[in-house]
């Protein structure tokens, strides 16, 4: 399997009121193509910061981040933006979208912006509709973002993250603002994407979500404290319950 993302000695330090706060400390991490990695850990452990640093949304203080063979620390802001646009997808806990655009337009916006995309506007729109159909929200494409439910909006965010067929999707608590049934639907969509070959890195607090991932990284105080290989999940309810149990036990051992 090819490596998609690798970090070497990644450090991130914030200076708050002249006080140094080392949020990430010497993180070495390798994520291969097709993996679905969950980042877990207590609040304030640095999970989201790690996600933002490896995705190029934030600059690292020290160390290397190599995404798809490119060292992101050496890229300009412009090149980093291009990388995020063409090769990465993002899903956030809050379903951030542009208020003045319809749901469909929000989804296709990155594709319209991408120079890699050679399709006509009409073709892009059709592809956006196909993605929406796949995620079961094709009936809300022309709606405003305040006219749809949270679950529908998060699935629209997944569509947006997929529109440029990224190498990797970064999801920060993608189900954090959703109820259980919406959460399950969203995770199933992410699983489905992963099965189709998209690498996913997902920050979560929820063992039920993490149980669907192939590997778990447990972070405490800015360092990876534990790592658990779970294997790909493609079974039913029973297997999921077994994986959850196994994960909960492991998490207990980590001090969860």
């Amino acid at each position: 399997m090819n490596t998609v993302l690798q970090t070497k000695g990644l450090c991130k330090t914030y200076i708050v009121n002249k006080r140094q706060n080392n949020v990430l400390k010497n993180i070495d991490l390798t994520i291969s193509e097709g993996e679905m990695v969950a980042i877990m850990g207590p609040s304030g452990s640095g999970k989201s910061t790690l996600l933002y640093c490896v995705s190029g949304m934030d600059r690292v203080t020290a160390g290397e981040v190599i995404f798809n063979g490119k060292e992101t620390a050496k890229l300009s802001d412009k090149a980093l933006s291009q990388l995020r646009l063409d090769e990465m997808g993002f899903i956030f806990q809050q379903m951030y979208m542009m208020k003045n655009l319809s749901v469909l337009d929000n989804i296709i916006l990155p594709a319209v912006k991408s120079k890699k995309n050679t399709e006509s506007r009409k073709q892009t729109e059709e592809r956006g509709r196909q993605l929406m159909r796949r995620l079961g929200i094709d009936d809300v494409g022309d709606n405003d973002i305040n006219e749809v439910s949270g679950g529908q909006l998060q699935r629209a965010c997944i569509c947006r993250s997929m529109i440029n067929s990224p190498k990797m999707i970064f999801a920060d608590e993608p189900t954090g603002a959703l109820n259980r049934s919406s959460s399950d639907e969203v995770m199933n969509e992410l699983l489905s994407l992963n099965r189709d070959g998209t690498t996913i890195m997902c920050v979560t607090h929820d063992p039920k979500v993490a149980a669907k991932c192939s590997r778990i990284l447990y972070i405490v105080d800015g360092g990876i404290m534990g790592e658990k290989e779970m294997g790909h999940f493609d079974g039913g309810e029973k297997e999921l319950r077994d994986r959850e149990r196994e994960l909960n036990n492991w998490l207990m051992e980590q001090g969860w």
Binding site: S81, R84, K99, L101, I108, R121
Partner: protein, 792 residues
């Protein structure tokens, strides 16, 4: 807790609060300065009359009459002052040894023995005496000639030469100092006596002017009525002396009004905007049980504090601004200057307005619910559809689409911005139109000469003997104009430019209708029918017993078309029927027009406008210019003008208006830049999460800055188009209104510089908008993609 929330808000939103404070300072400064100017200008002449101790009646009369002694004996008369003067023509004067060739009219040299009223120097200081060997003059004596303090005026009378040192110009309320009128010089009484002793036949007129303070003007006029060769002017006629100064002042006021309107619309927008973006705080406060009144008082207190601090600073800043603005229009008038109370009232009005704005804006807080805190201010119930365009169906690039979609999705916001920008463009273009119109031939009909005139000869000093003689005899009888017209037309014929000559003269008569009595200037233009003039209503006077009046004169007389008025032409009383109304600047609008062959009592003559020429072959502007040059060569006259030059020379406003126009352009640039910064900063603050999201999904800084710049540019372009559509009717309405303040004018034509109003001014606005937004939008670079998760 209340103060802690407020303190935290002021600290956390420091930049926005500082920008808001800056804008309040600007509004307060403009409001205080403008209000001060409005009061100074509208009450300007009244104030000038008060501080000048202006007479209620001024009577000019021959020196050998002793009317002054008769008047002082009247019980209704409080005080009589007498000034003695003699008139000299231009050939008697030399400025620093050079011939004073720009001087047209005879100049009155007044003895400084007793001043008829108070006179003021250029710095508005009262002149109490004239030093020996010195002189003060009215501004029209210099006619724009470069002449500095202590420069030497040489006066030659009967081969005796007197040298006088220039002390400065003086401002007077009781003398007409317009370019078309006789200038005045005040001398030390000893110098005047010496010159007067040398006069013999050198002066063409000697005169005594009586300044009367009375509580019964009619009694004075009645007492003076049967004295030979007098001219009577009442206090309310003095205001016509300052019509051009007031014209400039009113134009300045209009520009200030637009500026203040733009600033206040922006301020209202900014307050509403900043409150609406605080949905989360408001929702949380509601959720924890704070009542609406409590929440509203936080914001009202905040804006009260900002407006109080801003208004105080703004008031202080308004003092030099107000002085500067007034300085540009106080060539002849002593305005009231800085009135502390007026300025403070202006600043206080800003505080009240801001509190009203914030009170109005906080009404929306009542409608907000705790759910706003968790649903980003959107309940999904009360918001209309925002997405107007469809990205998939648009051919625009993403940045352009986003900008246009933002504008169309928030039409109210961008409509307000567009209105503000439109006001900014109008401020520049209207000033341009005023300046261009007042140096064009468009208002020529308001000066009482035929609109078909091509050129006017205002010089009396003409080398053609026959014409010179005719000018000398022109005012001696009602038929003497014929030889002047004949000789002028002959001269035109001989020089290959045949044309018709006309002359316009006017006399001041007391006019009565019912129990109303008004002094009206009656104009007659010889050698052209009266229907060659423009009439607002009715028809031209065609018979000697017919008259057209201005609307203002009709109003004063309480008369209508068809009514008969009684005119005291000096001893005799005539009855005239009103046939129509017309517009004019003359005599502050108190004017009448008679038919071409109406007889006038030339003893009551109060004005004549030289000789007007209408060429037979209707030449174009360039040809008229060439012919004027040829006429100058042929006649040796300097003062031959086209209509546009005539308007420019008479009003003397083009220089002042040009300066005001440039000043207003500079102020527009500053105000527009501040508006753009304030609004763009508000947008960035409100859209922080969207900016971060765009960056997270891969939009570069340039795209975000481009989107922000483009949408303001769109508003600026729309505003420029809008302003271009309305500038001409707006300027016409505004100029008509302003002209109506100083004359009786119901409509006027306007001239414009198409390049300036349709290209330069919009380009300035668009340029300032683009640069201002671009620089402000650079702030979006500080918003990082990772802020997506941490933004409230």
């Amino acid at each position: 807790m209340f103060w802690r929330i407020l303190k935290k808000d002021l600290k956390r939103k420091k930049t926005m609060n500082i920008i808001l404070l800056l804008f309040v300072i600007l509004c307060s400064m403009l409001a205080a300065a403008s209000l001060n100017n409005i009061v100074a200008v509208t009450g300007g002449i009244k104030h000038f009359m008060e501080i000048s101790d202006a007479p209620d009646v001024k009577i000019s009369m021959p020196v050998d009459e002793d009317l002054d002694k008769k008047l002082i004996a009247l019980p209704e008369v409080e005080k009589v002052k007498v000034e003695e003067s003699f008139y000299l023509t231009a050939e008697h004067f030399k400025l620093n040894g050079e011939k004073h060739k720009d001087l047209i009219s005879g100049t009155a040299l007044i003895s400084g023995k007793e001043f008829g009223c108070k006179y003021f120097d250029a710095e508005n200081r009262e002149i109490t005496s004239v030093p020996a060997g010195g002189f003060y003059c009215t501004k029209n004596f210099l006619q724009g000639a470069p002449f500095e303090k202590d420069d030497i005026l040489t006066v030659t009378i009967a081969e005796e030469t007197f040298s006088l040192s220039f002390e400065g110009i003086y401002k007077t309320v009781a003398q007409d100092t317009n370019n078309s009128s006789s200038p005045y010089i005040i001398l030390n009484s000893a110098d005047w006596d010496k010159m007067n002793g040398s006069l013999e036949d050198s002066a063409f007129m000697t005169e005594k002017t009586i300044y009367v303070k009375t509580n019964d003007v009619d009694a004075v006029i009645k007492a003076a009525g049967d004295t030979e060769g007098i001219s009577v002017y009442t206090k309310d006629q003095f205001s016509s002396y300052f019509m051009y100064d007031m014209l400039t002042a009113y134009i300045l006021l209009a520009a200030c009004g637009l500026l203040v309107a733009a600033a206040f619309v922006t301020l209202r927008f900014a307050i509403g905007f900043t409150i609406s973006e605080e949905f989360r705080e408001i929702g949380v406060m509601k959720a924890v049980g704070i009542q609406n009144s409590g929440i509203r008082s936080i914001y009202i207190t905040k804006y009260a504090a900002i407006s109080l601090i801003g208004s105080v600073i703004g008031y202080v800043a308004s003092i030099p601004l107000s002085s500067y603005l007034l300085k540009s229009v106080q060539g002849s008038i002593v305005f009231s200057g800085n009135n502390t109370m007026i300025g403070i009232t202006g600043s206080a009005a800003v505080i009240v307005l801001i509190l009203l704005f914030s009170y109005g804006c906080t009404i929306g807080i009542n409608k907000m619910s705790p759910i706003d805190a968790v649903r980003s201010g959107q309940t999904g119930e009360r918001f209309g559809k925002r997405s107007v365009m469809h990205l998939g169906r648009s051919k625009l690039p993403a940045t352009g689409f986003m900008a246009l979609n933002d504008v169309l999705s928030a039409p109210k916001q961008f409509a307000i911005i567009t209105v503000v920008f439109t006001l900014c463009v109008l401020m520049m273009t209207v000033m341009s139109n005023c300046a261009v119109t007042l140096s064009s031939d468009k208002p020529i009909f308001l000066f009482g000469i035929p609109v078909e005139t091509d050129a006017s000869i205002l010089d009396n000093d003409i080398s053609n003997d026959a014409i010179k003689q005719a000018i000398g005899e022109f005012m001696t009888s009602n038929d003497s104009w014929k030889s002047l017209v004949k000789e002028t037309e002959k001269m035109l014929d001989e020089n290959g430019m045949p044309g018709k000559a006309t002359v316009t003269i006017s006399c001041l008569y007391t006019t009565v209708h019912g129990d109303k009595s008004v002094g009206i200037s009656y104009h007659v233009t010889r050698n052209t029918p009266a229907d060659k003039f423009i009439y607002d209503e009715g028809t031209a006077p065609r018979k000697p017993d017919e008259v057209a009046l201005t609307a203002a004169a009709m109003e004063k007389l309480d008369a209508r078309i068809g009514d008969r008025i009684k005119v005291n032409t000096g001893g005799a009383e005539e009855e005239l029927i009103i046939t129509g109304t017309f517009s004019t600047f003359m005599m502050g609008g108190m004017a009448a027009r008679l038919c071409e062959d109406a007889e006038l009592n030339l003893e009551k003559l109060n004005n004549h406008m030289g000789i007007q020429i209408e060429f037979d072959d209707s030449p174009d502007e360039a040809e008229i210019g060439r012919r004027i040059e040829k006429l100058k060569d042929v006649t040796g006259a300097e003062k031959i003008y086209s209509n546009a030059q005539m308007v420019e020379t008479f009003t003397e406003m083009s220089g002042t208006l040009d300066m005001i126009k440039k000043m207003m352009m500079l102020m527009t640039v500053i105000v527009t830049a501040l508006i753009v910064i304030l609004m763009e900063r508000s947008f960035i603050s409100k859209e922080k999460s969207e900016i971060a999201l765009m960056k997270a999904v891969g939009f570069q800084d340039g795209s975000v800055i481009g989107q922000h710049t483009l949408r303001f540019t769109l508003a600026a372009v729309v505003a420029s188009v809008l302003a271009s559509v309305i500038v001409l009717p707006f300027s016409k309405a505004l100029l008509t209104f302003i002209f109506a303040q100083i004359g009786s004018v119901s409509s006027t034509g306007i001239a414009f510089d198409a390049v300036e109003i349709f290209a330069v001014c919009p380009a300035i606005l668009i340029g300032v908008t683009v640069i201002g937004t671009l620089l402000t939008a650079l702030y979006t670079k500080t918003i990082k993609a990772s802020d997506t998760a941490s933004i409230e």
